[in-house]
Symmetry: C2
């Protein structure tokens, strides 16, 4: 039995990075999807002065936003403040965030020819804001022992925005394109893999100590057979290319409980779990030898503390004190979340799991 | 081995009703979710003159819309044209359909007190349009041997509209209310069970020969444990009350593949399957002794015929010619669906499964 926090040769000390490698840690590390965001007054104050894209494009501002939850809540990792969609701009798609209405692509993909016009420029040329923010965060947080997480969207999720022109409920255009133009679909996802792998590797070079891949919509949009045919090969390719990053990769897919094994088999060192299944069952299906992250329903943070605590306990009980658990929500925090509940959650997880 | 179509004492002759009872039929019956709707030019012509609620409130018009797909496509059953939300009006909620933006509740439920103000008037007083349409349809279709399906929404799905005030992506308000006000939640779902059971039984009395319960959002909104705690008891109660209807009840839940067994265990004679899992696997989990309905992805109808046929074949192959399969889509047809594909689908299923 090795020590729980001693820095053994080559082993990280930060609880988050230890858990990502399946190593025991001083306490269960916790960070939260959308921990930097609209529920924080500090963030809203900045957003009153800058647009979403301005914040993302400015390395200093985006680092500042990323640090807010670290300072305010005591989370165990900082995720760089950005969005999954800006890399589409470098490819030639016109992106805007319409207040109250979410992202909008001005020139969505409608025909195979549109795919062939997409560029695949290197992230160093197109995503300097986010890469710069990561470098700043690493410098700021290294002395405090807090790791920095970089992230990007998975190919299907990005393709869905590029084709729908924004958010979607049924992904009708995306699926029609996928089924009617399978060759162009393959080229599109191929280009997205190129761009996203390059972007994620650049984030690791800039200082990110872990990388999270968000596949928000494949599971909501596709049945298992379509997932295996039209998505899985591209996700596998993406994760294969990320092996060179030398940092743990978290694969977070929403809504794939019906085929969790197949989704997890695409790759990633850590499997990010949504809230659809109890943690122990989902973990068993993924395999206990693999670290997992999750999976409190973010709606629980809108409940009174008594109920919220009961649900945190449930997640921790199901994790059973096994090493390799990163506590997180199973989907992003919503803007209405009371900051106080988030603060109590972080403190409670630390306190209950202190070893 | 009994004859496949002979009207044995007490046994229905219509293929749809036979399949709903697990009996062999002349061919696999087919009808389609949203078979009456915006993809049909006849429907769009009527909608240019009448609002959604006008169509629903007028028995003659709503019967006319319900008959359009029977005449145009040759489907094996007619579902009455209506919507799941109008019963909320009778309870005291202000409903409107905003063009391009979907349903809107003017006075959504925000506090426990709002629940107590909801009425539970009998459907015969509040839903005469739909009940009248069913009577007309039964009269028109009986000579043609086409059964009439009535329907209503499940308690969670209706509660989500009543609380969110319209459609939702994350059901944040609904879940916050559910977790913060569990007693009021229980009263709300109790009232919805009362109203919906009464409404469905009234539809059967009016002539509906099968009833479908739509639980569109519980599976998308809730993890399994919340489903079992906050939804399942109410669904069980609803299905228990429907036993008196004397007609088969189809339980259609969207997005519950992660806990399909538990959802199916709530009740219903026929289990309506969405497109998340291949039909044979989903059917095995439900149990082959129970009839199922499904489960073509409606996006397949946007693909070229070659691909569409391949997918119809896949569903039929997985059904394996077992009695007790009603062919359907796993979610509603979308407005962009080419009518010709729907017509070919119906003809192809009939032709391929003719015994």
């Amino acid at each position: 039995m090795r020590g729980t926090s001693a820095e053994v040769a080559g082993e990280p000390a930060a609880p988050f990075l230890r858990a990502c490698r399946g190593l025991p840690a001083d306490h269960t590390p916790v960070w939260l999807l959308r921990q930097a965001g609209r529920y924080l007054p500090e963030y809203r104050a900045l957003r009153a002065r800058y647009s979403m894209l301005e914040l993302i494009r400015d390395a200093e501002l985006s680092a500042e936003v990323s640090l807010q939850p670290v300072d305010a809540l005591g989370v165990d990792a900082a995720i760089v403040f950005s969005d999954i969609l800006p890399p589409l701009q470098g490819m030639g798609l016109e992106l805007d965030f319409v207040p109250g209405d979410g992202p909008r692509i001005g020139n969505p993909i409608a025909r195979p020819r549109d795919v062939d016009l997409l560029g695949t420029p290197p992230a160093e040329e197109t995503m300097q804001g986010t890469l710069g923010a990561i470098a700043i965060l690493r410098r700021e947080l290294e002395p405090r022992g807090i790791p920095v997480i970089g992230f990007a969207g998975a190919p299907f999720t990005l393709a869905s925005y590029a084709i729908e022109g924004g958010s979607s409920r049924d992904f009708t255009k995306t699926k029609a394109f996928m089924l009617s133009e399978p060759a162009a679909w393959k080229r599109l996802l191929g280009k997205l893999v190129t761009v996203q792998a390059d972007y994620l590797l650049a984030q690791a070079r800039a200082g990110a100590q872990a990388l999270q891949v968000f596949d928000s919509w494949a599971g909501r949009a596709l049945g298992r057979e379509d997932y295996l045919r039209y998505v899985a090969p591209h996700n596998r390719e993406l994760f294969a290319r990320l092996a060179r990053a030398g940092v743990p990769v978290i694969a977070f897919s929403l809504g794939v409980s019906a085929y969790l094994e197949e989704a997890a088999a695409c790759g990633g060192d850590v499997v990010g779990l949504d809230w659809q299944l109890p943690l122990d069952e989902a973990w068993a299906r993924v395999g206990f030898e693999r670290p997992v992250q999750g999976n409190l329903d973010p709606a629980a943070l809108l409940a009174p503390w008594r109920e919220l605590r009961h649900r945190i306990d449930d997640v921790l009980d199901r994790a059973g004190g096994r090493p390799g658990h990163v506590f997180n929500v199973g989907h992003g925090l919503v803007p209405q979340t009371p900051v106080d509940n988030v603060r109590r959650l972080v403190a409670y997880v630390h306190e209950r799991t202190a070893r």
